[in-house]
């Protein structure tokens, strides 16, 4: 089989090549193609903004502004980084800037502002017998809602690291650069965020959040 056919048969490579082509064309001046370029990432951009701002309206404003800034500065994008990483980085910068502006008006709780990672280790609280949670459970809106609520309870510094690393799938180095913190801080905060969420989800596990179906097959709910 020829190399060209192999490339054509690989959807991920196809998407990558298509994205490279779109980037080059937008950089050359075909600016009307920009939305097509960023559309696959609009959810991730919004999630990054929401993780930092914790308010849906602010997150949408920040996400839109970030997209416009990316649009204005698309010529500065170099292929050294992934386009998605660059876009999320622009979004994080925009959201952090907005939060700094908000802080001059609204005082955030003191415990949410601390940047000191030299704190006591977090010990897991629940040791229930965990099994793999079926991914189909995410089809249910109430499950997604519970997970979103659990994430929202985390302090800002843990939530930001967790979202960039585990939701946006940025690596440790990219997460550290995006948030302007050390790699050691990323690892410490990530561990704590994951353990805390695990405890929160363990409670839900016991309450049956993630059961495959709300009622057994063959039985009627009425």
């Amino acid at each position: 089989m020829s190399e060209a056919k192999l490339v054509a048969n690989n959807p991920a490579q196809d998407r990558g090549a298509r994205e490279q082509d779109l980037i080059a064309r937008v950089q050359r001046g075909e600016r009307e193609l920009f939305y097509e370029l960023v559309q696959p990432y609009e959810r991730r951009v919004y999630a990054a903004a929401l993780a930092i701002l914790r308010n849906e309206a602010d997150a949408e404003d920040a996400a839109q502004e970030a997209m416009l800034k990316a649009f204005a500065n698309i010529r500065q994008f170099r292929q050294e980084a992934r386009f998605s990483t660059w876009l999320i980085q622009v979004t994080v910068n925009e959201a952090l800037m907005r939060r700094r502006r908000q802080r001059t008006v609204i005082m955030e709780p003191i415990d949410d502002r601390g940047d000191n990672d030299a704190e006591q280790d977090y010990a897991p609280r629940d040791f229930a017998d965990w099994r793999e949670i079926p991914s189909e459970s995410l089809e249910r809106k109430e499950v997604r809602q519970k997970l979103t609520e659990a994430l929202a309870t985390l302090d800002r510094k843990y939530r930001e690291v967790f979202v960039l690393r585990d939701v946006e799938h940025m690596n440790i180095q990219e997460t550290a650069e995006a948030l302007g913190i050390s790699i050691a801080s990323v690892k410490t905060r990530l561990l704590r965020a994951r353990l805390m969420l695990r405890d929160l989800l363990a409670a839900g596990w016991q309450q049956g959040w993630f059961s495959r179906l709300p009622f057994e097959k063959g039985t009627k709910p009425w």
Binding site: D126, R144, R194
Partner: protein, 225 residues
């Protein structure tokens, strides 16, 4: 289930790790950020510790659930609003580009007009350099003897010889030489100075004829050679 104290006691031998150490490194373990020795020690620990296995499975579930694309929800109409704002920005940029060009276009029209006028003037001057005034009244009076006594009157532009019937403002008449009258800006009277003006015309014609003859002679000489 293995007792936790038992596990902690186990850590006293060799490369074994205790539960606290496992919890501290469990995130790095999942990310592949621990070295080989620690990884092996942790894997050994998971075999005998149900608590740490529970923690490991729980953290793995967390990363799998939150890393799922379905968790990325956006408000209804988000994409549409984003597309609209990008379209608006495109239109705004286009308007700004037009405005950026407008000062140039505003200057280009008068600059072009100025260039055309300048070019026209230069062309006109190059076509007719040192044009000779042909009207007799415009002649400075060539052929008139410079020491000829002539009459000039204040408020007129013409000088005459005595007895000319076309003298105006006779009460202000004064006599002077033709040379001085010409220097003061007076021109010869067409009637009384006709003789001199005709002489001047004949002389100009003769001079022009001589020049043509000289040119012909020169041509003949060149041909002869």
């Amino acid at each position: 289930m293995v007792d936790r104290d038992t596990i902690n006691r186990d850590t006293t031998n060799g490369d074994a790790v205790n539960c606290e150490q496992v919890w501290r490194e469990i995130s790095n373990y999942l990310d592949g950020e621990v070295d080989g020795a620690l990884r092996s020690a942790m894997e050994e620990h998971f075999k005998i510790c149900t608590r740490c296995t529970s923690v490991l499975e729980g953290v793995r579930n967390v990363t799998l659930l939150y890393g799922d694309e379905r968790m990325l929800e956006v408000p209804a109409g988000f994409g549409l609003r984003l597309e609209k704002s990008l379209e608006k920005k495109l239109a705004q940029d286009a308007r700004q580009n037009e405005r950026r060009w407008s000062p140039w276009s505003a200057w280009l029209v008068p600059l072009a007009a100025l260039a055309l006028v300048t070019a026209g003037v230069q062309m006109a001057s190059s076509v007719a350099p040192n044009r000779v005034m042909r009207a007799p009244m415009a002649q400075a009076g060539q052929g008139i003897p410079p020491d000829l006594v002539v009459l000039v009157a204040t408020g007129t532009k013409v000088f005459h010889v005595a007895g000319c019937t076309f003298i105006h403002n006779k009460e202000t008449l004064r006599s002077t030489t033709a040379k001085e009258a010409i220097a003061e800006g007076y021109v010869p009277c067409l009637r009384c100075m006709r003789k001199y003006l005709d002489v001047a015309a004949i002389r100009r014609a003769e001079a022009a004829g001589e020049m043509e003859a000289d040119a012909d002679d020169e041509e003949v000489r060149v041909t002869a050679h």
